[in-house]
Amino acid sequence: MSSEENGQGRKPTVAVFKFASCDGCQLTLLDAEDELLEVADAVEIVYFPEATSTMIKGPYDIGLVEGSITTHHDAERIQQIRRQCRTLVTIGVCATSGGLQALRNWKDVGEFVRRVYAKPDFISTLKMSTPVAEHVPVDFELRGCPISKGQLLELISAMLAGRKPNIPTYSVCLECKRRDNICVMVAEGIPCMGPVTQAGCGALCPSFRRGCFGCFGPMESPNTASLTAQFRVLGQSDEEIVRAFRGFSAWAWQFRQAGEECERS
């Protein structure tokens, strides 16, 4: 979306919105210090409460949305935001699949509220934490907890150049092997979500001899049944397997289904 393309001879405007989340993904944008100057040169960041006090009204060319929808107010606000953004991009696992807070989707939220708050009556919340795409159409998703700085910059560069972003949807394993990691599952018997998880992190966890936690969500064709079977071969209990799928990306439907299937079995 070059300035010629938006037809107004000006830099595309960017707005950053936050819903239920920890701010980590927005911080990734701020963390891109070296590149931020270039980004600030190429686009105009007009709404970014986390970083600046200027809050210019929409419409915006690009909206980056962090966080999941957990309140009635959220559910209304995301509709307005959608109407104001020409391109809407969700960033991070909360926005793309509901986040860790989606674990409440299997529990009674009313019960939590009664236990935690002195005056539960003041709390108005939805029963479930859901991804933005369950509420409005989303143009592009950046996965991860948090998102990868490289992917964010790649997406911005691609949008500016009007080209397709290089955001792979294959497994973490490809990145893991290109990086010359030794597979923790094969060589150490550590359960790893890499084979069913989308690449993008650069196989961070396996690089530190840990199994992947699946924070980038399901890859393009996740065979969760086969991975479940392999986890059993590695001696994992059903409870452990449910926990593996019900982590960062618990509410992503393929992982949700895998966990529930394992519970039923």
């Binding site: 070059s2 792979p168 294959y170 497994s171 490809l174 290109r178 094969v186 001899r209 086969s226 071969v233």
Partner: protein, 390 residues
């Protein structure tokens, strides 16, 4: 002590200690040396500065989907079989920049990649790996479409082969005609003999350069007994292989069994993770990624290892041609063992067993092929390919 240049193709004897100058001798000739060494939980290939970095006294245990390091009873330097790495990483790197471009007013300039290719001396190349390099040579040094990155690295290569005197349950090199002893394609070939404190190598030069390096190590004449011992050690290891593949008529069988119930069966287990293609020493597929800088003034084209197990791999206008795991597993196996023959004159598999060991789901191509040899059963759907995603 041999005074003239050792004759090519003749076996000589070296005490293990006599090999110590090998790496310095290669380095003096301008090579960077790489070979097996322990990193974390595996024996990988990495830069070596001294033979002390070899995994002396270690071996590896392999089965479908599992790999473990184990101590050996002796101090053999090469008493293990191939690990997750293959030499492909050195000749056909997982990531390479093809070129960069800078904006120049209304035009742009191409900045060629002209970093000099490293000259590698690879130590510990097994006979199946020599066969794999020969296969990649046929693919990537093609007369008409040579790959410049591969070619530059391949041209400067020095190969120190090691004949296996151990095997793993996942090896099936004998079936694929890539079993030791290595006969050609190396500069130097070694066979390790360890009996108690006696640690010796039979050594053979395969090129003039190899003979020059061997001469510096001060080789002794090998007796008939030494030669027989080495031969027997190799024969014993190869006689004990647990896996095999029926290759006569394999190509025709796979084409005929394009529809076969086993494909669905394998697809149910296959994770489409791509590990098998990454570890395979012959798989060569790559993808290119064009990147542009945020400021719009620079761009670059990267090349990365790709896998036929990814959806994007077969993306053409309108979508991916192979959407199902079945079609991808079938593509991989059929290409390796059948279409490769039509394209490049040999199968694309050397029987190293890596794809068996490093498949997180423990899928074993020798078992899949054995099952595919079974009759396909009556054609469903009147023999027409089934409708639906392919």
């Amino acid at each position: 002590m041999v005074t003239n240049l050792p004759a090519i193709g003749t076996q000589f004897l070296l005490d293990a200690a006599a090999l110590a100058p090998l790496i310095p001798s290669l380095e003096r000739r301008g090579y960077q040396v790489a070979g097996p060494t322990i990193r974390g939980a595996a024996i990988v290939y990495d830069t070596l500065h001294s033979l002390d970095e070899l995994p002396a006294g270690w071996t590896t245990e392999h089965e479908a989907g599992t790999y473990r390091l184990k101590k050996r009873a002796d101090d053999a330097w090469f008493g293990f079989t191939v690990g997750p790495d293959s030499w492909k990483r050195y000749l056909h790197p997982p990531e390479a920049r093809l070129f960069a471009a800078r904006r120049d007013g209304q035009s742009f300039q191409i900045v060629e990649e002209n970093a000099e290719a490293p000259r590698w001396a690879l130590v510990g190349v097994r006979s199946c790996e020599l066969a794999a390099i020969a296969i990649q040579d046929r693919v990537l040094l093609g007369e008409h479409y040579g790959d410049v990155i591969y070619e530059a690295r391949r041209r400067g290569l020095f190969l120190v082969a090691v004949n296996c005197t151990v095997n793993s349950p996942t090896c099936f090199c004998v079936s694929m005609h890539s079993a030791p002893p290595a006969e050609a394609g190396f500069d130097l070939a070694l066979t390790e003999l360890v009996e108690g404190p006696r640690h010796r190598f039979l050594a053979e030069a395969g090129s003039r350069q190899g003979a020059e390096v061997l001469a510096e190590l001060g080789p002794a004449e090998a007796t008939a007994t030494d030669r027989r011992e080495a031969e027997e050690a190799i024969k014993k290891a190869m006689g004990g292989l647990q896996r095999s593949m029926r290759t006569a008529g394999l190509r025709e069988m796979l084409y005929e069994h394009f529809e076969h119930p086993r494909w669905e069966d394998a697809a149910a287990r296959c994770l489409c993770c791509g590990n098998c293609t990454m570890v395979c020493p012959t798989c060569f597929c790559t993808t290119v990624e064009d990147r542009s800088a945020v400021d719009g003034n620079g761009a670059e084209r990267l090349r990365k290892w790709d896998s036929c197990f990814s959806e994007n791999f077969s993306y053409i206008h309108g979508g991916s041609v192979r959407m199902s795991a079945k079609s991808r597993y079938r593509q991989w196996l059929t290409h390796k063992l059948a279409a490769w023959v039509d394209q490049f004159g040999s199968a694309g598999c050397v029987g190293c067993g890596r794809c068996i060991t490093w498949c997180p789901a423990g899928i074993d191509l020798t078992k899949e092929v054995a099952a595919l040899w079974e009759p396909a059963g009556p054609p469903r759907n009147g023999g027409h390919p089934a409708p639906g995603p392919r």
